[in-house]
């Protein structure tokens, strides 16, 4: 005779072990911290090396020049490039109440990045058992993303830009941590190859009910040919917010900042 065992959901007594409650509390900390952030904007491409970080940094600077409080969360933990793009001073992170002060670029962009924490030139590495590293490594990176969102004193921001690594994993983690899906800015270069990678990433974003603000075409007028931005814009019904030439001047960035602001 099988034992008569009640199911998990039948057991409703409070238990301080409650892992689920702890996860809920984590989400609440993220939401509380971001209550003063008007919009979280994920800079996404799905393809590596197309200029996500370059665009994120240039856009953040221009937004601040235009008088908008702006933060950049560098979510590329294994290849963090934002601090050098923003000319962040190397300094110790200090504490402010229950949070860590973001670093401040010379123009006033607030930023946090794994590069601020790692020893020069060393890759991100975690403590843990030798085996099955890939299983817990992803979970740890998601925890790092959660702590970068919840434990940095972002303060009042008009936009918090999130510079994503190539691929779709981090975007999914970000979406799961936020109460509402982030707005998405897609970055592509003109080629068909880039278009296809960005298309896949954008389909993923749509599935997660993220709002697509538009597409930015980078490295225009150089060796890359194609019309990725126009094709993606037509397919997803979104605007081409900017075409960025090689070595853009500040006025190019100002125009991009204006068009991003106009999507609010």
């Amino acid at each position: 005779m099988p034992l008569n065992i009640r199911t998990y959901r039948d057991l409703t007594e409070a238990d301080r072990s409650g892992l689920v409650d702890q996860i809920v509390a984590q989400r609440r900390r993220v939401a509380d911290r971001l209550a003063t952030v008007r919009r979280v904007l994920a800079v996404l491409s799905g393809k590596g090396g197309v200029g996500k970080s370059f665009v994120t940094a240039g856009l953040a600077r221009a937004l601040v020049r235009g008088g908008r409080a702006t933060g950049v969360l560098d979510a590329d933990f294994n290849g963090p490039t934002i601090p050098s793009l923003l000319d962040l001073p190397v300094a110790r992170s200090t504490f402010h109440d229950d949070a860590i002060e973001p670093a401040m670029s010379p123009e006033g962009v607030r930023c946090f990045s794994m590069a601020l924490l790692l020893e020069d030139g060393r890759p991100l590495a975690f403590r843990g058992p030798e085996t099955e590293g890939h299983v817990w490594r992803e979970t740890l990176e998601a925890a790092a993303l959660r702590e970068f969102l919840a434990d940095v004193a972002w303060g009042t921001l008009d936009q918090l830009l999130v510079d994503l690594p190539p691929g779709v994993q981090r975007f999914q983690e970000l979406t799961e941590l936020l109460a509402v899906p982030p707005a998405v800015l897609a970055v592509t270069i003109p080629t068909a190859e880039s278009r296809d990678a960005v298309r896949r990433a954008l389909h993923g974003a749509v599935e997660r009910k993220a709002r697509l603000l538009g597409v930015v075409e980078n490295m225009v007028g150089g060796p890359f040919t194609g019309s990725a931005a126009d094709e993606l814009a037509a397919e997803f019904g979104i605007p081409v917010l900017a075409r960025i030439p090689w070595h853009p001047t500040p006025d190019v960035w100002d125009a991009i900042a204006l068009s991003v602001r106009s999507t609010s």
Binding site: Q26, L117, P123, A144
Partner: protein, 151 residues
Amino acid sequence: MKFLCVECDRQMQFEERQLPGDGTLAAAFRCPACGRTVALLTNPMETQLVASLGVKIGGTTIEPQPMETVRGMVTTGRDDAFDDGKGETGTGKSPRPAWSPEAQERLARVPNFVRGMVKRIYLDYAKERGIAEITPAIMDTARTELGLEEM
């Protein structure tokens, strides 16, 4: 994860946790009706998975420190990444606990990247309980009570 005492048909309650220090974890649960205790034992892989979620089997009584998981788990952090000040938080009125020489020695072995945070946690723990001197034994108790696998 819950434990049911099948004979009594009662949900068992978390009792205590032990961290032997070899990457494994033991958590004991007791049946409120018959008093029987069972222990959940996790291997290093399972322990790591739970820790990487930033949660503690058996819960914890203190608020997490800022970037607790990153500071506790990253091994390639810069020595001077954080300016922890004197490591004092908490607003308790009780005087600041002292560190025994052995406890100081043990603290000195903690990597710089996380040391300030570890120090703050032990200080807060001692203050909250009115402990005047932090010794290695106190550190051990705090570690299991607070579920600080990584420290």
